[in-house]
Amino acid sequence: MASVLSEGLAVSALLFAIGLVGLLARRNVIMVLVAIEIMLNAAGLAFIVAGARWGQADGQIMFILILALAAAEVSVGLALVLQMDRRHATLDVDALSDLKG
């Protein structure tokens, strides 16, 4: 069972790293959202694995919470994407820097 834990966590870490790299490397805002989704799921996987390891339901509850969060995040994110397209006619995150200090 120990290997499930370490392998599961390794996958989770890998997923997280992929998501992070995606987040940092991609300029298309939709791909950024996808990368964030991957990272959230990486965190969720870690909870599942940990829950399985301890035989507790807490991990799965946390995963459901993350799912809900992710859904909310995607809906807000997609709305922002639409606004971005409408106002600036671009999906490049680097094009937007109105909050520069």
Binding site: L20, L23, L24, R27, V32, V93, D94, L96, S97, D98, L99, K100, G101
Partner: protein
């Protein structure tokens, strides 16, 4: 009857209030009636109070109006004190004040500020009367500052001219500088003696202080500061010649007859305190002697008729200080009174001349007025003779002679003081008759306009009379007189002890005094009438011209004060207009702004940059928390 005392300052104050509140709405006739009438009634009240005072055997009388303030042990009252000394001062202020008001009613008639003028003049008289009648030093300070204010307002009366404003401010600020010392003196006195009531204070001082010890010396010196400023004595004297910017009646009343002699009055009033401070007495005598000489020399070379009189006023007050300094209090007060008569006379006559010549002040452009204005000439001559102490017939002779005698004979005096006074008397004759010769003798140089009407003539005539007969009040025993004035004041101002053996040489001293005065007058005729080329010759040499310039500028004190002190003050104030403390506050602001600039580059506005920062930060914390 003595209760009329309160009316003496109250009536002019009421006159001021009426004129002030009417805000120029009254007609000239009404203004003159109120302005002159209030002082006239004050004179009547003063006479009534004085009569009551005599009836009660000349015993000191106090009249309490109310308690001004009562905090802890500090309980100054609004209370008037009438004794021989304040009686004399009250008489001079109301009497001479009334005459000058009468004169002004005509002199100022064409001025658009007629009502304002009388309002200020009444305010002055009220404040001056409070000053002389006050029974405590705080009330005295009220009058003291009140006359300073009135003086400021009247010097700057013609406010359209900026120079008048400057002269007015100079007068106020320089006298206020003396008043600072005066106020500190009050703090010392109250703290040491527990009261500011003059009689109690002197009594307490004599009870607890050893003559010549530190506290009376300090207190005496501090109060002297106020007296020096008010009376235009060294080193606070420079404001007086400039104060001549005011209308001539103002110069007569404030800057000759009454206010400038307030310092003399103060020292005499507190003579019991000064008796405990012999060092300060000596200082007073020295200051008086030096001032009388310096200003006599300065008067010699002035070309403005009023400035000659101003310097002569300083010089005569120098005599009074000399008298106070040698302990001849009553001699100082006698000269104070006689000086008020003849100097007011001189100023009023000079005013008539100035008005007749269409506001001409330069004696170089006057001349030969003897025939055109005979009345003014004879009055001015009487005043000038009194000023020069012309022997026997003028009052000025008796008053100045008394000071010279005391300067020699008093235990505090000595030959040096006497010699200074004698030289001063000689110079007085010289500059006075220089003035008379330049203005009234010689060829006529201009047509005259208005001659004085009776409202101006009567005061001049009365003052001329007083300048002659005033001396009868105090003819010394050497000339067969009874010295009544001195005896009258002896209750308040103790008679002076004499140095042993001086009585024997009194006739010699008198002869010398007469000689000095006549010598000065004679030299004036010689130099300025018969052989003016000699003066011109001296003036044309380099040294002579330089000396004339130096004296003409009042020995250069102005240059020192205005060029150094006033300029430094104003310069610093201007340079620091934006307040260097605020620069410190701005420094904090600037520091924050710098910090802001430093941190600003982290805010790129790029989301991915922030994500990177978050990731790196998280890793950093992870590193710190778990791996280290």
């Amino acid at each position: 009857m003595r209760d009329a005392l309160v009316l003496v300052p109250a009536l002019p104050l009421a006159g001021f209030l009426i004129l002030f509140l009417s805000m120029g709405a009254l007609k000239r006739g009404a203004v003159a009636w109120i302005g002159v009438g209030s002082v006239g009634l004050a004179l009547v009240a003063a006479v009534v109070a004085a009569t009551g005072f005599w009836r009660h055997g000349a015993a000191p009388y106090t009249q309490t109006l109310y308690t001004w303030l009562s905090v802890a042990a500090f309980v100054p009252r609004v209370r008037f004190y009438l004794d021989g000394l304040s009686l004399v001062a009250m008489g001079v202020v109301t009497g001479v004040g009334f005459l000058i008001h009468l004169y002004s009613a005509e002199f100022m008639i064409d001025d658009e500020g007629y009502s304002r003028f009388f309002a200020y003049m009444n305010l002055f008289v009220a404040a001056m009367l409070i000053l002389v009648l006050a029974d405590n030093l705080l009330l005295l300070l009220l009058g003291w500052e009140g006359v300073g204010l009135a003086s400021y307002l009247l010097i700057g009366f013609w406010y359209g001219e900026s120079l008048n404003g400057l002269a007015a401010r100079k007068a106020f600020i320089m006298t206020r500088l003396g008043d600072v010392a005066f106020v500190i003196g009050l703090l010392v006195l109250f703290n040491r003696l527990g009261t500011l009531n003059i009689q109690d204070l002197v009594r307490n001082a004599q009870a607890v202080w050893v003559p010549g010890s530190f506290w009376p010396t300090l207190a005496g010196a501090l109060l002297l500061g106020g007296a020096l400023g008010k009376s235009a004595q060294l080193p606070l004297q420079t404001w007086l010649p400039d104060a001549m910017a005011g209308p001539t009646p103002v110069s007569a009343l404030i800057h000759a007859a009454t206010m400038v002699t307030a310092g003399v009055y103060l020292v005499a009033r507190l003579h019991g305190l000064y008796a405990l401070a012999p060092a300060i007495e000596r200082l007073i005598a020295v200051i008086g002697a030096v001032t009388l000489l310096l200003s006599a020399f300065a008067a010699l070379v002035q070309s403005d008729i009023k400035r000659v009189l101003a310097y002569s006023t300083m010089s005569q007050i120098g005599y009074m200080f000399l008298a106070n300094g040698v302990g001849a209090w009553s001699a100082a007060i006698f000269h104070f009174m006689i000086h008020a008569f003849f100097k007011a006379l001189l100023f009023l006559a000079a005013g008539a001349v100035i008005q007749a010549l269409h506001d001409e002040h330069d004696i170089g452009r006057m001349g030969g007025l003897r025939r055109q204005m005979p009345f003014t000439f004879w009055s001015f001559l009487i005043g000038g003779a009194a000023l020069s102490a012309f022997p026997f017939i003028t009052a000025g002779f008796y008053s100045k002679d008394l000071i010279l005698w005391d300067a020699f004979a008093s235990p505090l005096g000595g030959p040096a003081f006497w010699a200074a006074g004698l030289l001063g008397a000689f110079l007085t004759g010289l500059y006075t008759f220089r003035l008379i010769i330049r203005v009234f003798l010689g060829p006529a140089k201009s047509k005259i306009g208005r001659r004085p009407g009776w409202l101006m003539a009567v005061p001049i005539g009365v003052l001329a009379l007083l300048s002659v007969v005033g001396g009868l009040l105090n003819i010394p025993s050497l000339f067969g007189g009874g010295a009544q004035f001195t005896h009258f004041l002896a209750q308040v101002l103790p008679a002076q002890a004499l140095r042993p053996g001086v009585r024997a040489i009194e006739p010699d001293l008198e002869t010398a005094a007469i000689g000095a005065s006549l010598g000065g007058i004679f030299l004036a005729f010689l130099l300025f009438l018969h052989a003016p080329q000699w003066v011109e010759k001296v003036k044309s040499t380099v040294a002579g011209a330089a000396l004339a310039r130096w004296w003409g500028a009042g020995w250069g004190f102005d240059r020192l004060y205005e060029g150094v002190v006033a300029r430094a003050y104003a310069g610093w104030a201007r340079a620091n207009r934006d307040d260097f403390v605020d620069a410190g506050v701005d420094g904090v602001v600037e520091g924050n702004r710098l910090l802001h600039q430093l941190l600003r580059w982290t805010q790129t506005g790029h989301v991915r940059w922030y994500a990177m920062a978050i990731a790196l930060g998280a890793m950093g914390w992870f590193w710190l928390a778990v791996l280290s």
